[in-house]
Symmetry: C3
Subunit: 316 residues, 3 copies
Amino acid sequence: MDILEKFYNMDVISAKQFKRSDVEDLIELSLKIEKNKEKFTNALHGKVMAALFFEPSTRTRLSFESAMLRLGGSVTGFSEAGTSSVKKGETLADTIRTVANYADVIVIRHSKEGAAKLAQQFSDIPIINAGNGSQEHPTQGLLDVLAIHDLKGTVDNLNVGLIGDLKYGRTVHSVAHLFSNFKSNLYFISPEQLKMQYRVKDSLTLKNTNFVETSNFREILPKLDVIYMTRIQKERFADLEEYAKVKDMFILTEDDLKIIKEDAIILHPLPRVNEIDPVIDSDPRAKYFEQTYYGMMMRKAILASVLLKDPLESLK
Amino acid sequence: MDILEKFYNMDVISAKQFKRSDVEDLIELSLKIEKNKEKFTNALHGKVMAALFFEPSTRTRLSFESAMLRLGGSVTGFSEAGTSSVKKGETLADTIRTVANYADVIVIRHSKEGAAKLAQQFSDIPIINAGNGSQEHPTQGLLDVLAIHDLKGTVDNLNVGLIGDLKYGRTVHSVAHLFSNFKSNLYFISPEQLKMQYRVKDSLTLKNTNFVETSNFREILPKLDVIYMTRIQKERFADLEEYAKVKDMFILTEDDLKIIKEDAIILHPLPRVNEIDPVIDSDPRAKYFEQTYYGMMMRKAILASVLLKDPLESLK
Amino acid sequence: MDILEKFYNMDVISAKQFKRSDVEDLIELSLKIEKNKEKFTNALHGKVMAALFFEPSTRTRLSFESAMLRLGGSVTGFSEAGTSSVKKGETLADTIRTVANYADVIVIRHSKEGAAKLAQQFSDIPIINAGNGSQEHPTQGLLDVLAIHDLKGTVDNLNVGLIGDLKYGRTVHSVAHLFSNFKSNLYFISPEQLKMQYRVKDSLTLKNTNFVETSNFREILPKLDVIYMTRIQKERFADLEEYAKVKDMFILTEDDLKIIKEDAIILHPLPRVNEIDPVIDSDPRAKYFEQTYYGMMMRKAILASVLLKDPLESLK
């Protein structure tokens, strides 16, 4: 990792934009900053991040903010559209063109597909997609890959199960795209109505990524090295009856602890509702809270990369 | 500009409080800080700005926050009254007396006329009016004058058209008051129901400022050096039928580009709804997005002026 | 005060956890930081405070934020649950476990009893209770004791009247617990329906604290050295008729100024609604606005104490 200048001024819109070496570089940078974190406390001094959260968020917003603050930068923005001029009918394009004049980087969360891509067209400063619509949440995917790499020692040759809502869950789409760079096997485990979207599967097929689709949760569990649970999101359903039918089908229970591998890791992008029995929290294989820490680590690496020509300047 | 101490500890309540030399000094200071911005990144270190936004805002709040942060200061506050003790029935006076004990400067946006003036009575620290009621938005007026000065090279001898809602629009009132210090001609172009308020016109008459009132938008357009469009604000109307009648009358269209001066500039305080056809955005005369950058510049100058005895200390 | 390390990494959950020497140490530290405040502007550089306000607040949140910022730290968080993942059904435990990975200290305000205590169980970083349910608001109690100590010169041998809603008001409970460490007399003055809770009185009795209960407001007033008024909180009443009956009974009026001691001090945790006639604001005995300044002072001392092994490091 000699030259990381390649990420300078980059927009982070989709997991699909990252190839294997990019992901590896970001993982390496995350770990390097973490190891030397005291040296990076002024790395982004004088830089301003605008966090534009049109949808509620705890993890993504707070970890981006903490990452920025811990690197010596500062933060402005809003945590709900209602306190902004969107309420007065302003278009996203106009909001972005304005905020691009105040900040050095924009982190955007939005309910609409393509919001980050649209923002990109109207901004001279880097746009980071902090989740939009049901397609993309690239920084979550990157932090998940970092967590898996750090906890399993590799991202290759693993059996990775993505479980739950694979149709509407933006996180699993980004994770799947990132894994298409590696030599692991993907298991898409979901109810029939919530199967992985074709556009993701087609993209994986083009990259010769092995994947298996199934709704047989417990048959696959013993094989998995990574058990990636997701919430079945009520807000994605038009029909609440459909929601009620599927929400309890893919729950990780105490009994499952006996059948899963001894060195498996259990992840979840959180928030969870009832997909994981709380009794599992104390099992050493449960890594979903540690996972959030990798979020701050990866977001530090991303912010430093897009804002600095040399993100490792602080080490010199 | 030897001594800027005159602004130290000043409240910014109304555009009317600024005379010609004050406006010129703030413009000069804005440009000086901008030219040397790297030297000002610690100018307000240790100072705290409280942003008390009782009404939603994107531009004003975020540009004030960015200005403060870029000068090395920090920010607290709220972006909607609902998260404050106002919800428990606290008066504005009590809120101000409290926050004045925590911060070094208060920036207030409020729906009520006179809110900033009331705040001033209960505060030992400077109050900056970030828009209240329909009368005043002095820092917007100042940034507009800065933008015009920088883009046209002067604020004198111009034909300045203020277009749209001149009755309820607080921005145009502040702009008009500030222009009464200069030798330009003002054109108040509005529907009959939204004519410029008498109190503003009386004030201009007292200062011998030339102004013309008309509802003939396209007849005046070719004369104008500055085309200042404003939104016809739905939230100011009691009667939605009256709103519907007037909202589409004063729209700048692609055809208008042929009749306006080649060196005219088009401004808008934003947010816009449909007053300016988006096709105009790419015309070099469209300056409403650049205008937002002048907002951060002017707000840096104002914050440095009221918080520092010598706002140019950082240059020494 | 040689070693303050005893507070390092401490959780602040209940006023009951502080003994006399603890309160005295925090008072001394508050005053020392205040006297040398210019030296403390980088004391918490690199530290991040997460302010998790599930309930609205002006004073508590803004004074904690200002305290943190003025000590050189930085702030993230939310000011209402609606912008967080609570909206998606996340439990408090999960929110805390997550935020504990991003911040160095969590300040939490919550409507539920025991929320801070629950948070404590799921956090590796210090939890500070910024008010939960109707039982506890320990940092408010501590700032009140600081204010009384500084304004009266002592916290012993005073007649301290707590007036208003002693049943639902969390502040008076914390004040009463803290006073059980000192040799003052407490007067609990309230309507019959809003008498001090048994659990508080039992705790005082165990510590041999003198207290008198009465609803005869004006009979007691002339005796008091400290007149601590509180709001009768509408939001605590299930029955609005009951609220209407009691809300006007315990109001401090201009006439009362003639009967209270010349050197009495009038305090109020604020916000007030109508418990204190505004005409009293200008009386020199009215100290409820100064009281808010002590809030920032005490919160600086608390944050420095829990985040630094040696909170006085900056003086060296």
